[in-house]
Amino acid sequence: MRDCKLIRESLSGWLDGQLGTSDAEIIRLHLESCASCDGERRQLEKLQSSLKSLLVSNVPRIAFEPFWAGVRERITKKRSWHEEIMEWARSTFAAPGLAWTVPAVIVVLLGVFALDSFWKLGSQRNNFAAVESIDAHGRNVALLREDETKTTVIWLYQNQEGEDESSGENTETSPSF
């Protein structure tokens, strides 16, 4: 039974004369002794003959001169610029596989941009923060921006005149920026 399965899978090639000599001989011998596979062969032959009748015999002959006139008209016809571009694009992206290459490239590029944004966020490379309003209640305040990470720093200076919030603490002077 296993043999019959393999034989039937090769029947197409055998009928078309596309198998090597030794394989063809194996199949011929099997068909002589196996009625079931031989039946399959007869069905395939009938299918082939029906197909040939349908596809070949019923197709009319076309006259050459009018056909050539149609081809020549296309050759001599001046094409618009966008037709030329479409033709160029069609020939450039000829391989069917490229049909998926272009969208895949777009997806990869989008992914890279997204990752790049994510990376920047994660590493705080563009750590944007804008101070919309600030009320230091009479204190001096400095707004600074760190260059590399663009980090915003709000620095509060000690209150010189009013209440001394640092009383009791050993303080150092403000940092140098």
């Binding site: 090639g13 078309d16 009319p60 050539w68």
Partner: protein
């Protein structure tokens, strides 16, 4: 002595449109028959066949002779037919459409091999079954049945291996057998 395809191609590449005309005369019927088999519509097939030769003319300078001219031409034809098929919105029309002036022997009454009822039903079922195949499976059936091309040539035309051609043919024929069932 008749020029070979390659000699004619070289003349085309040098700008001789007469050489291209000769190539068209050699292959226009073959290309048309293959495309009719794929599209099942004569009007569309004629259009696509003419477009095939036009495309071949535009690309003739890129043909290096690595494959035979006819496999190169068939490749263009099959790709254009498959593209056209995907664009097609209408169903396949009946087989007997004609176009004035383009079909020879219109008045000759050819013997219809599907003349009796049983064979007519078989033909209708065959047409429907072929149309149910994918374009790639239809192409292998057409190229093998119509042109009797070798698996190697079919593989070159379709851009696949001989093994793939054999397995596609096996699959396509199996599908047709299943659909045709008792008719065969």
């Amino acid at each position: 002595m008749e020029s070979s395809d390659w000699e004619l191609v070289q003349k085309c590449q040098a700008g001789e449109i007469g050489a291209f005309q000769e190539l068209v005369s050699r292959y226009h019927q073959k290309i048309y028959v293959v495309i009719v088999g794929l599209l099942r519509n004569r009007e569309d097939a004629l259009e696509v066949a003419q477009e095939t030769f036009f495309r071949a003319y535009r690309k003739i300078k890129s043909f290096q002779g690595g494959s035979s001219f006819y496999t190169w031409l068939y490749r263009i034809a099959v790709n254009m037919a498959i593209d056209s098929q995907r664009r097609q919105k209408r169903n396949p029309l009946e087989f007997r459409e004609t176009m004035d002036g383009l079909f020879e022997e219109q008045n000759e009454v050819a013997r219809d091999p599907f003349s009796d009822v049983h064979d007519r039903e078989l033909r209708e079922k065959l047409v429907a079954s072929i149309n149910d195949l994918t374009p790639e499976h239809k192409a292998v059936i057409i190229l093998r049945t119509v042109e009797g091309l070798s698996y190697k040539d079919i593989g070159e035309i379709l851009g696949c291996s001989e093994g793939t051609v054999m397995s596609r043919l096996h699959y396509a024929r199996k599908k047709l057998q299943e659909k045709l069932g008792a008719f065969l």
